[in-house]
Point group: D2
Chain length 155, copies 4
């Protein structure tokens, strides 16, 4: 069929309805809903839901993060508040502590490249999350609740 310059085959896109996937408890007051994990590159696509007033331990990112705020409001105390509809871009090597400032749960959609390292005030790593630890959290939660996990590493 392709006589032209491009391969006109129908490589199919992958559609996810997040209502079919669980909110997995993460740090206290925070829940993750994993959409896709790329086991080759380490890309993590997920939603994070946080209760009003919740903060998250300071963490460091070796790669980029793109965050779209779906609901609520949060800040890194860097001079702005990200409200529903806003976008935050985090460069590789950034360190910050998100803090929820809305009256309802805050929900963000994020594309994370690689990992996030929780660090103490001196910069020592306390814990790390990457595609593997997130996948384990999802599977452990499914085991606990008797849910059948979807293969979120498949594209």
């Amino acid at each position: 069929m392709s006589t032209g310059t491009h391969p006109v085959h129908k490589a199919l896109a992958s559609h996810t309805d997040p209502k079919a996937l669980p909110w997995v408890p993460w740090a206290p007051g925070h829940f993750i809903k994993l959409i896709k994990l790329n086991p080759i590159t380490g890309q993590i696509i997920l939603f994070i839901r946080s209760v009003p007033g919740a903060a998250l331990q300071m963490h460091f990112h070796p790669g980029t993060v793109v965050v779209y705020t779906v609901q609520g409001a949060w800040t890194y105390d860097e001079g702005w508040v990200s409200k529903a509809g806003d976008v935050v871009f985090e460069v590789a090597g950034s360190t910050h502590s998100p803090r929820m400032v809305g009256k309802e749960d805050t929900i963000v959609f994020a594309v994370i490249e690689g990992a996030l390292d929780f660090v103490d005030a001196s910069g020592n790593t306390i814990a790390t999350e990457n595609w593997q630890t997130f996948l384990k959290r999802y599977h452990d939660y499914c085991d606990e609740k008797g849910l059948t996990p979807v293969d979120i590493t498949k594209f």
Copy 2:
């Protein structure tokens, strides 16, 4: 300050309130709101708004696309409809024609790696959009409307 394993400096994130940025006319019935363009890697972060019933010419992607649907509904006629809150992942080398199927405008938030090539039925490239052509569209629109463009290539 950093005595530990990480550089605990405050590399700042970049926050964008999309209300401050214009909807730039694109193909008929489609508008783009550019958030960030990475002139090194070619990453494009944008919103696309499409009127009810609008379709977009078949196109090919050399890299990945992550799409979060903010409002409305659309499909590639691959067996699913992406509604508000859903996520679509498009692998490199995919070719498709989006078609709006909601009653209101459809708005998506997308992270595109590299480009999209509009192709004809034989797979010949008709037009290409990448960070450079999108940036030109934004600047041309600002010129036309007397707006001062923001530097969306700055991180």
Copy 3:
């Protein structure tokens, strides 16, 4: 085994001895040896070998390219010559025509994100190469020569 912050499992690296893989004819005077093709992200890892004096049609890159010169010498006529041991970084959206200037074959090792689009002097796309077209070239060559292809899309 992992009681600490990281998943200490042995995710295995993938080793390739290029001597086991063929040089596939590409444009006249140029040969490609594909190492890995990532069907999710479109990353292309390959060697390109070019005979002395060969030039390659002007082309455009939607993503980045990293080039390490193994042998020989080449230039884009931008004020430098890349000799054995040198590194060239090409930003997304660059357009250029490589020209071999060494006395022996030039061999480069390259990591290409996404694609290269051959363009005419007006910027119209004449042909495109991405992970799919390169894979087809490899398979067609193996068919022609009676070789058993390796799965270079597996990681």
Copy 4:
């Protein structure tokens, strides 16, 4: 000039002759020569030189690594030895300890996405290297030796 589908401007590539850059001491028996550091995405392009018999502390990668062996030989003790001319691809989330097995210095050219985390046998992070820590090592070495650093974060 561009009447066609592509922006035919001459976005220039960046050429590096590594002879102009120093070998900076890293772990004992290992030296790094940084070529490019991307402060947005965290990509690290460098050469690593290691003396015969040297090993490197076990480390974890949140992103991918592509390694081309320029000279010498090394292994992760995973069933292969990477000799001059060979390519190794490391997936995100891999953990390993390289060991030099050649009689001369081993030199590799590597493209690292994000970071490497040195870990102990339990998987606890001991130290981290990313674009920021590598840049500091380069600048500190230049200060110590009275060298003028090149801006390796510029593309």
